[in-house]
Symmetry: C2
């Protein structure tokens, strides 16, 4: 018998609702001899409103003792922009060295893409199924900026993108490994080397050098602006993409839109060294406008649970969840189902 | 009789071909009493290969003496990434204080968007017709970065985004003016204020404050990642967008893809103060793979010429070109025409 210590941060808005369905499916999927010990943590906008706290050090240390973290969504319109992002979400990603931010983008059969006509033109064998490996601990996300003469007509504000050979090499190598393990074995670097020559140069050189270790992987390079064009006209060209933190943020939302919306987009924030707990979360936000209405789609959270199980090497359970989601999506059509109805349906397939 | 001093930089690849058509249409459009004195400048990859020069100071000073600059496209695969971008294109934008990088995104009747089905669902009155006002002289484009221990495992590379109240206020005010002059009068700020808190905070505060001068303009704010979703699912929601240099680079390529491709996307790099010549260029690159084949679509250059004429207050001529392009696009269908056939057809409509 194996025991997994899972920390759950339901968060705000639709967070608790989608997490409940994620856990429902988790329990249906894991084998009887694996026991999930779940501890819920009350973090997010509600706690901040009540106590002014975002992530107390004691809580951070408690979270560190877990095998993994499942997070719903954080934020509400009453919290100033940046407070919870920097104080909680990014703090967790940085504190736990989540350098691989993994975001699969797959168009499931039965799901209609906004660019469906373009995809259809390319014939019945055309597939959109790629994964973005977004760097998670560097780039313009480091919080290394400031402002001078704040609030005056002479204000100047800076943001420093910090990029290290160490940080880039580990995420690039991880991306090559993933590409090498896939059928098409293709890796695309996305950056803006023609303008951000220093950061871009470092990324590009490391991308080339690490590539020598993976002669089976085909590589190419795209500027981030050109990548948005391909994502909306020929997303099937991508297999694995590796990119920096900010470009990854932008293109994964676009990739989600193209593959059916952020209601389906899962993500894992991985410390692939295993030294710290990895964290899994849907890409969507807390959507306060639909919280409590039962309209939230829990699928992104369910797929995040599958990523988590894969990371925990409960590969079978992960595969069963993915298959159940695929089957559910294939039959969904225009049906209107509630958050818990979708969760129930997927859980039933997983168990059945 | 009025005389306009126009500097033309045909550049590389398809640059000279599309510029030839742009000038053809220009001559057909301008009234007889306006004389364009055209001086061609040999700048770009060919010159760099021959002489190692990107933009000699003497040439820069000559260009400064003109009323406007028309640029085709710059670059070929033999030039290291960044050399011509930083040494020529961005050097011109910065030297001539092109703080308003204007990029209209309009889906013309007859042009099919990759998301056409989504647009059709929204009914016959749904229009995609917005303009992005991209800041052009600040942000991560300032070239303020460096690298330490270059080429070693301890390398660290930085890029500093520099943002000033002065620089933001002038482009934000320009965007409000444009919004105020349009029918829908709506302005959206796109940034990433929740992560880039210093730069984002400055943008947001100025956006709010300048807005007080324009009570007729409705405003909203989107994070850049969310903006990509709207651009691919509901681009008709946008009227005027104002954003920073890098976000503007990314979302304008996406906007171009959604409105029919970069073969149609025009841009103006404006110093709205008039102190320096403004520069007009298609958004697309030099496309060396199709150079000389007659496959390049000159429409983006023709529309850039229209932006130029508008900037030169030759408003009538600008309107006639836009109308001719619209009429040509409406009738194009699947026809295969060469670069010069398209130019001829538009010029004939303009003249006729
Ligand atoms: C909420 C925000 C800080 C976050 C990010 O920018 O990474 C989100 O957009 C995401 O993609 O997970
Ligand atoms: C070529 C490059 C420097 C340029 C930019 O990044 O601005 C281009 O992508 C553009 O959008 O005009």
């Amino acid at each position: 018998a194996r025991s997994v210590n899972l920390a759950v941060i339901p968060g705000d808005g639709i967070g608790p609702e989608v997490v409940a369905e994620g856990l429902k499916v988790l329990h249906a999927a894991v084998p009887g001899d694996v026991k999930f010990e779940i501890t819920e943590y009350d973090l997010g906008a509600r706690r901040w409103h009540r106590t002014g706290e975002t992530l107390p050090d004691t809580v951070l240390e408690e979270l560190r003792g877990h095998d993994a973290i499942l997070l719903g969504a954080i934020g509400d319109p009453g919290v100033p922009s940046g407070v919870l992002e920097r104080g909680l979400l990014l703090k967790l990603r940085f504190a736990f060295d989540h350098h691989v931010n993994l975001r699969p983008a797959r168009l499931y059969p039965g799901v209609t893409s906004p660019i469906q006509a373009r995809l259809d033109e390319r014939g019945p064998d055309y597939r959109v199924d790629f994964v973005v490996v977004r760097e998670g601990t560097e780039g313009p996300y480091v919080g290394n900026g400031g402002s001078l003469r704040t609030g005056t007509p002479h204000e100047i504000a800076t943001e420093v993108s910090v990029n290290t050979a160490y940080g880039i090499e580990r995420v690039v190598r991880d991306a090559y490994r993933r590409a090498s393990a896939r059928e098409r074995k293709k890796l695309t670097l996305v950056h803006k080397t023609n303008v951000l020559v220093h950061a871009g140069g470092l990324w590009y050189r490391i991308f080339q050098r690490v590539g020598e270790e993976f002669p089976d992987v085909t590589t190419d390079y795209l500027h981030v602006d050109a990548a948005t064009i391909f994502l909306t006209t020929d997303p099937g060209r991508f297999d694995v993409i590796v990119t920096d933190n900010l470009f990854g943020d932008i293109i994964t939302d676009l990739a989600a839109a193209v593959t059916g919306g952020i209601g389906l987009a899962a993500s894992g924030n991985l410390d692939v060294s295993g030294a710290n707990p990895s964290m899994f979360e849907p890409v969507h936000g807390s959507a306060p406008d639909i919280a409590g209405t039962g309209k939230a789609d829990p699928t992104a959270t369910v797929l995040s649970v599958a990523l988590m199980l894969e990371h925990l090497e409960l590969t079978d359970a992960a595969r069963r969840i993915e298959a159940a989601v695929a089957a559910d999506l294939a039959e969904r059509g225009g049906q209107q189902r509630s958050t818990s109805q979708i969760g129930d349906a997927i859980a039933a397939r997983v168990a059945g």
